[in-house]
Subunit: 206 residues, 4 copies
DNA sequence: AATGAATGAGAATTCATTCAT
DNA sequence: AATGAATGAATTCTCATTCAT
């Protein structure tokens, strides 16, 4: 494992660019299969086929099938985390509600772009023994929220910031995912965003 | 042909006590495997083994592997739904907060008894095409909440009851599940219940 | 001891009748399944179900699944053989052609009543190692034909009676079976009977 | 979904020499098992084992077990059809009897090379619902015979050519098969060929 | 590096047969 | 005798992974 990682780093520049491209092609193919054919269809052969490479090549870049999901998780986590951090940074004095709405809308856009993928990632996160990666990511998000809450003006009234951040993050995420997949009749996208924004604001504000 | 296929999914519906017991033994074995060995370990042979019956017997009661999950889902759904309905019935004039806390605590007990099972069921609910059963259950729960909200004294201030009920249910469920599986450091059970109760009450009351 | 045996014999009569009836019920159920659902559907459970008895009872009368087929074969063989012998006996001086036609028509009626059954029996007869029963039956039929040919007036011109009888029997049987199952367009039942009669007569007469 | 199912049955059609060779190895192994161990012994694992490949490889070339039989059928059909067409072409003015004998002898050689295989194929042809392939083949053979009969000099006296061709083909085929498998005592190969030739000639000529 | 044929462990499912009641 | 629940060996098929070219 360590050897593989070290060897990888030694590779040269042009190769790295091409490698990077192949990796992306494979990840994109996987996402496309998730969305179009369902998670069960994402076999290594099918991924390779859709990506336009051979299985052998696929294994050149990913030690095993799970590594593809891991990479996908990393990529999506990165997007979510950077979105959160950017939004929560609160550039100019936006109102609490405006910030909350921005976060909710941003996450919603992210999830809606690939609901099946996020479903799989959520499921993965629900493993009996969650990968450290998942816990690390959650901790990072929760940390960002916590920091935000901590630095917020006296408006935040929560005392247990850990619990509050955890509750807010999981609640919003799950409601969105369930909405995108179940498509419950009688609830519009706009209504969902409104309600979630309100949920967060009321929960956090004093 | 179609007749046979349909018949297959039904199988002997057990009316004898013996049969009922065997069904329970199989369901319990499945839950035990989920909790102890993870969902992937729940193969038909392993379930039969743990249940102390033969594969043949297993298939005498369940037309195929998925039928076991379906039965488990039915069982758990029934428990959750009856809990909700019982609690929301609001026997004597309990306060909103008291009712909310009762629901949260009840669900929490239910999930804590078999987190991995509920994870699987949630995952099942996150299928790209959720079974009608799942949607029916969600609709039932959301309906119960909606009815409660509709009949609540003027204290409820939500206008979009559909969206509100959906948001409340999914949020609470997901946060609990994530908590039970990730076991985030720094958040106690009591704190979680407190926070979720508060989340619900603040979201709904005015 | 003697008393018990005597008692047994006294009870036997009605029991034997009942046993005989059960056996028939099982055989008939099997034929019905062959014709209506196909040979693959004829599992022991399905046979018992259609016969209205339990599997246990089925095994009371037939040592194993193949024994059912054997009995069916015996029954059908008996019908075919008695038909042949009756017809070939040539009561009054019927013409060769009339006799041939009678045999062809008799067999055709027999096969048409249960084509799928006769297909299975034929297939069984085509086993790499045919059961002695099959060879015995074929020998019996061929023997009957041979005897008939031998005693025919000078009209029969075949020298190798064994080969001739074998050829006649197999040819007629197979053509009929293929006809009943393939239902070739452009060939009517009447035409088939005519042609087969002519085939036989021309082959045998001088 | 349907797309995937369709794709399954096709699989990699082998164009490389290597692939072609593997396909042949598998088909030959199947025939060998039929002849030596009986049709029931031809499980996918046993075929793979005798072929000296893994089950996985077998499924790389044949979408399912039946596809192997189909391929075998195609191969044998091709041989039989080309034999018939070649022989019936009647190059120079061979006599009717000579042509008939050539056909009978040719078919006999074909069947004798793998009687159990041809038994299975005949059985397959006797399916309650024969595959279109079987009907197509039979139609092709019967068509070739019919064409031959139609173009024969005034010697052919049959009026219903469809029925005649059908009767001739099925009769000869079945008698041969029964002979090869039952090995009836008292009938030599030479006698069988003689008798069948005579059967055909007498039936058709006038 | 890339390829894709080959591998084989493992999963779901069926069904003839047994045996306690 | 009759019942039918229970058995488990056997079968088909899948798919992650390897490795010779």
């Amino acid at each position: 494992m360590a050897r593989r990682a070290a060897e990888k780093l030694r590779r040269n520049q042009p190769h790295q660019a091409r490698s990077r491209a192949t990796v992306e092609v494979i990840l994109d193919a996987t996402v496309r299969i998730f969305e179009g054919e369902g998670a069960d269809a994402a076999t290594t052969s099918r991924i390779a086929e859709v990506a336009g490479v051979s299985v052998g090549t696929l294994y050149q870049y990913f030690g095993n099938r799970d590594a593809i999901l891991d990479a996908l998780q990393d990529r999506e986590f990165e997007r979510a985390a950077s979105l959160m951090q950017r939004t929560l940074a609160n550039p100019d004095g936006a109102s609490d509600r405006a910030i909350a709405r921005a976060v909710v809308e941003g996450l919603f856009r992210l999830y809606r772009a690939a609901p099946a993928l996020h479903r799989v990632l959520a499921v993965d996160g629900l493993r009996v023994t969650p990968a450290e990666r998942v816990q690390a990511f959650d901790a990072r998000i929760v940390g960002a929220i916590k920091t935000f809450l901590a630095h917020a003006k006296p408006r935040i009234r929560r005392s247990d910031l850990d619990a509050a951040a955890f509750v807010v993050y999981q609640s919003v995420r799950a409601a969105m995912l369930a909405y995108l997949i179940e498509q419950p009749p009688g609830v519009s996208e706009a209504a969902l965003v409104d309600e979630l924004t309100d949920l967060v604001v009321r929960y956090l504000s004093e």
